[in-house]
């Protein structure tokens, strides 16, 4: 972020005249923004958005206990299981892509290319739909409906994000100076040993911020459980909204706020992890910035 009174790419340090102009601009933009906010507030108030009952109903203690708390727990459960599956698949596929055995490389590359191209919602919904179509159904397992839905949500989240984590790991391996692996071979380690003892620890350390950033996205993607009516936050919110007919928007806004808090806290943890990692040593990276940029987009 550019700060005033400091040379940046765009501005020299401001002189007295520039400071005055920038102060004027500050006041003007503050007035404009506050005006817009006030306008929106008046409009919302006129439509009864702030009416007390509309907020009190969905936030009733009974609703909180029976719906919001379980919804948050179900969201976090899907997030936790999805993350574990994604990390497992990511490591397996990521190292499959740099395997010495060509077919393993091809299979892993195919996996990544395929699952990166398909929308996650399609994946979750297809796995949910094909259940019971090929002579096998999860019904025989005697699971509850929610457990079934959780399974397919977690499968979708894990398979899809596994492909992206594999790409992050591979990029991390590519960015590691080749001397690291060569030094490993030079002291007589085998390929597997080099990967396990020299490459993986450093890649994990270097790529942890990018991996965690992807997990924040995975957390947001648990909202896709809505499509297969898994009782996570978004779906629960729409049910609460339906129960209290004129609190529909309020219930959704509450859900959005909870998502915001969860994702914000998690992304702050990413920043903390980044800072702590910088103190530890790993071989300096060649191309980290691009890797992180790539990770944020998917």
């Amino acid at each position: 972020m550019s700060r005033p009174n400091e040379s940046t790419v765009l501005f020299d340090a401001l002189g007295p005249k520039g400071r005055r102009n920038s102060n004027i601009a500050s006041v003007v933009s503050a007035v404009v923004l506050l005006g817009l906010l006030a306008l929106a507030g008046v409009q919302l108030a006129a439509e009864g958005f702030f009416e007390q009952s509309r907020w009190a109903n969905p936030l009733d203690i009974l609703v909180v206990q029976t719906t919001w708390v379980p919804a948050i727990l179900d969201t976090l459960l899907a997030f936790a299981l999805g993350s574990v599956l994604a990390l497992l698949l990511g490591v397996i596929i990521g190292f499959g892509r740099i395997s010495q055995f060509a077919p393993t490389r091809w299979l892993s590359a195919g996996y990544v290319q395929f699952f990166r191209a398909v929308p996650l919602v399609l994946l979750i919904w297809i796995t949910f739909t094909i259940d019971g179509r090929f002579g096998f159904t999860t019904d025989v397992l005697g699971w509850s409906n929610d457990a079934r839905r959780l399974t397919f949500l977690v499968l979708g989240l894990g398979i899809y994000n596994g492909a992206i984590l594999a790409e992050i790991l591979r990029a991390g391996v590519a960015a590691l100076p080749p001397g690291q692996a060569m030094a490993g071979y030079a002291i007589g380690l085998r390929h597997g040993q080099v990967q396990r003892l020299v490459v993986l620890p450093q890649v994990v350390r270097n790529m942890l911020p990018a991996v965690l950033a992807q997990l924040v996205i995975l957390l947001k993607d648990t909202s896709l459980g809505y499509v297969i009516t898994y009782p996570e936050l978004l779906h629960s919110a729409s049910i609460v909204g339906r129960d209290y007919g004129n609190s529909f928007l309020q219930a959704l806004v509450i859900a959005a706020f909870i998502y915001f808090v969860l994702a914000y806290v998690l992304s702050k943890l990413v920043v903390v992890a980044e800072r702590r990692l910088r103190k530890k040593t790993a071989a300096p990276l060649a191309r980290v910035q691009q890797v992180e940029a790539a990770a944020v987009t998917d």
């Binding site: 972020m1 550019s2 005033p4 040379s7 940046t8 790419v9 765009l10 501005f11 020299d12 401001l14 102009n21 920038s22 601009a25 500050s26 003007v28 933009s29 503050a30 923004l33 409009q43 439509e47 009864g48 958005f49 395929f114 191209a117 398909v118 929308p119 996650l120 919602v121 399609l122 919904w125 297809i126 739909t129 094909i130 179509r133 947001k220 648990t222 909202s223 896709l224 809505y226 499509v227 978004l234 729409s238 909204g241 004129n246 529909f248 928007l249 959704l252 806004v253 859900a255 959005a256 998502y259 915001f260 994702a263 914000y264 992304s267 910035q289 940029a293 944020v296 987009t297 998917d298």
Partner: protein, 218 residues
């Protein structure tokens, strides 16, 4: 495996068309929002920077599906109504705009300070140094990440099925849930996947063209 192939191909082509235009239209909105956010971010006015920051944080931390559902199902309650495709474009555009803004900002920040200082020290004005020194370099730096945002938007656009826009995934869903089950499950799955792969391939080819056109002649 591909029973009623012509019917399936017809439905998937229609879906592809919807997906493509929803993607391109909302990406245009996202680019406009991104530019506005960048201008606010680098402006000397502190409140403008706060507002841009708040917008970015909001859309980076709330799921896209929640944004779409709030817009389409929630806003009519306070008297704001529009067709579902309007919300699809706005929701996708506003959400992606936050990411476009961040990408462009990191593009400007990636330019070494010395470039701007050199431009100013040979006497270029603000607009000259911006237009002839900084932007040409920044644009080249951001084309690849903006391209991957576009590809990600193709996949994100599938979420508008939740507000009833008949894009590719929604069409495939209808085929599979066909009451007379005229279509083979695997046929539809392969068809829809190939369609998405095709869109992604064509778009990433276009992005690569843009990269080449913008590249320096060395």
């Amino acid at each position: 495996m591909f029973e009623n192939f012509d019917l399936m191909a017809d439905a998937l082509l229609k879906g592809m068309w919807t997906t493509v235009w929803v993607t391109l239209a909302s990406y245009t909105i996202a680019l406009v929002i991104g530019v506005v956010l960048v201008v606010m971010h680098v402006s000397p006015a502190l409140p403008a920077r706060w507002a841009a920051n708040a917008y970015t944080q909001l859309f980076r931390n709330v799921p896209l599906l929640a944004v779409l559902i709030i817009m389409f199902f929630g806003l009519p309650q306070i008297g704001i109504k529009a067709e579902n495709w309007v919300w699809a474009l706005l929701g996708l555009g506003m959400y992606t705009g936050a990411f476009v803004g961040e990408t462009m900002r990191s593009g400007i920040n990636s330019i070494p300070l010395g470039q701007a200082e050199a431009a100013r020290s040979i006497g270029l004005t603000f607009s000259q140094s911006l237009g002839t020194v900084i932007m040409p370099q920044a644009i080249r730096a951001v084309i690849p990440p903006l391209g991957s945002l576009l590809i990600a938007l193709v996949k994100n656009s599938a979420l508008v099925l939740a507000i009833g826009v008949a894009e590719l995934t929604a069409r495939a869903r209808r085929l599979i849930e066909d009451p007379e089950s005229k279509f083979d499950l695997w046929g539809v799955i392969i068809g829809v996947t190939v369609s998405y792969l095709l869109i992604a391939l064509v778009l990433s080819y276009l992005v690569r063209l843009a990269e080449k056109r913008a590249a320096f002649v060395r």
